[in-house]
């Protein structure tokens, strides 16, 4: 579903009178530890090197509610519907105040997670499908969605490498799947993957094998994004190394 045909998933966003956007919106989806931020960092550098201005968005980054969401998460006091709505508030605040102006101005917006993660989490937590879809239906349809698929085992390893601990929420501990955090994490991530699988076709995700090498994934992303922006094959090969690991000349 390209942005141009129908800019919204369903209902019109009242803040947008004329949905004409010069920029492009790309969403990267995947669990924590699936390599999203590394890839987004590399993509941004490459786009900027080619003269494209880049803007980022992600979860819990709005001016309006990010602090309060963080606080509520720490205290573990949110019930499910409240949490869903709070996240939706955070999402739409960024969409209206950051993303739409950026797209109007012709920027490339890279979303480090988008509505799909939010919807998958809601659904796994027992939300009604029609209700969740309705809530996000005034969101903008991205020009492409890349879903990083990583096996649960690989995710565990990467999370331990990064933090040496599993995150309470990423383990779905609030769901009472298991009192053992490790099994809860694995179960929860599998449930999320199932939801993503259901969404894959419907929303036309580009599925990326997140177990691949960093350079392989980056090459794939550049090919697709470069194609949409008209950045030729030669320029897609520039500096194909993860940030901070460029070979010293």
């Amino acid at each position: 579903m390209p942005l141009k045909d129908n800019p919204f998933f369903g209902r019109r966003l009242p803040e947008v009178r004329e949905p004409n956007f010069a920029g492009k919106l790309f969403a990267i989806e995947g669990a924590d530890g699936s390599g999203r931020s590394t890839q987004i960092g590399m993509l941004s550098q490459w786009l900027e090197a080619n003269g494209y201005a880049v803007r980022h968005m992600g979860l819990r980054r709005s001016n309006l509610v990010s602090e309060e969401l963080e606080e509520a998460k720490q205290g573990n006091v949110l019930t499910h519907t409240t949490m869903s709505l709070f996240y939706a508030t955070d999402f739409f605040d960024q969409l209206v105040h950051e993303i739409i102006p950026a797209l109007r101005a012709g920027l490339i917006v890279l979303a480090d997670r988008y509505i799909y993660t939010l919807m998958a989490r809601d659904l796994v937590r027992g939300a009604d499908r029609a209700w969740t879809r309705n809530m996000y239906s005034p969101a903008l349809v991205p020009d492409a969605v890349f879903y990083f698929r990583v096996s649960a085992a690989q995710l565990v390893e990467r999370n331990f490498q990064k933090n040496s601990t599993l995150d309470y929420w990423e383990s779905g501990m609030d769901l009472g799947l298991s009192r053992d955090m490790f099994s809860s994490f694995v179960k929860f991530q599998r449930m999320l993957q199932n939801e993503f699988q259901k969404m894959q076709k419907e929303y036309g995700f580009e599925v990326i094998n997140g177990n691949s090498r960093v350079e392989t994934i980056q090459r794939e992303l550049r090919k697709k994004i470069g194609g949409l922006l008209g950045i030729g094959a030669a320029l897609q090969k520039q500096n194909l190394f993860p940030l901070g690991s460029e070979p010293i000349p």
């Binding site: 966003l13 009242p14 803040e15 105040h97 029609a130 309705n134």
Partner: protein, 227 residues
């Protein structure tokens, strides 16, 4: 659309109406009456979740809210109160009194240009009240009651975010007029019980109490004696 289960023994009473319709006074009197008669009563107000309040206050103060986020943050506030108080108390067999309910949101959000069906679905997790008292007052009367003392109107309260007028009083008039039209259009659809809010307070209250007695088996809500 979610259809919430009505698996509870409590009763839900809500008051709705324009600012200045006197609905808060009326629900307060209902609360006092039921408490003094010894019934299990819980009262909750619009926009009062402690958890969400910080964000709402900040959003309003810094004028960060747009129609969509205004709608969502109020829905968040409502959901918090609904899931932690309203629903558990209904299940515990309480008479739950709400000063404003989802209809306030449906009216205000529609006025702000938000898709009506979208908001309606957003709030579809909430059960509808057993009685929704709609305090109906001519627009001019409610405007006069509010504006008489030339109070300092808040930005969103006056609808200044919509840019209809830069004069807060003029903007408030336009806003309230539109909200009034929304209430009127919801009356039948949601089965509001209209009360003529231009009558004397105690007359209105007597009518309200009668309607409650008729519709609700009050003795079933008597507080259980403590041993």
């Amino acid at each position: 659309m979610v259809t919430p289960k009505r698996n509870y023994s409590g009763k839900l009473l809500a008051v709705e109406g324009l600012d200045g319709s006197g609905k808060s006074t009326q629900i307060y009197l209902v609360k006092r009456w039921l408490e003094l008669e010894g019934y299990r009563v819980f009262f909750t107000e619009w926009n009062s979740s402690i958890l969400v309040k910080k964000s709402t206050t900040k959003g309003k103060k810094r004028q960060l809210l747009t129609p969509t986020t205004f709608s969502l943050i109020h829905a968040t506030d409502f959901a918090d109160r609904y899931e932690r108080q309203i629903l558990p108390l209904l299940r515990a067999g309480y008479l739950v009194l709400c000063d404003r309910y989802i209809f306030t949101a449906l009216a205000r959000d529609a006025v702000r240009g938000v898709d009506r069906e979208w908001v309606e679905q957003l709030y579809s997790f909430a059960v509808h009240p057993d009685i929704t008292f709609y305090f109906r007052v001519p627009l001019e009367t409610s405007l006069n009651r509010i504006l008489e003392g030339r109070p300092a109107l808040k930005y969103h309260e006056a609808g200044l975010d919509m840019g209809w007028s830069t004069d807060p009083y003029e903007s408030f008039r336009i806003f309230q007029g539109k909200v009034f039209a929304e209430y009127e259009s919801m009356r039948e659809k949601f089965g509001f019980t209209a009360i003529d809010a231009s009558e004397e307070i105690h007359i209105q209250q007597a009518k309200v109490r009668n309607l409650i007695r008729e519709k609700i088996d009050l003795p079933a809500f008597r507080r259980r004696p403590c041993h």
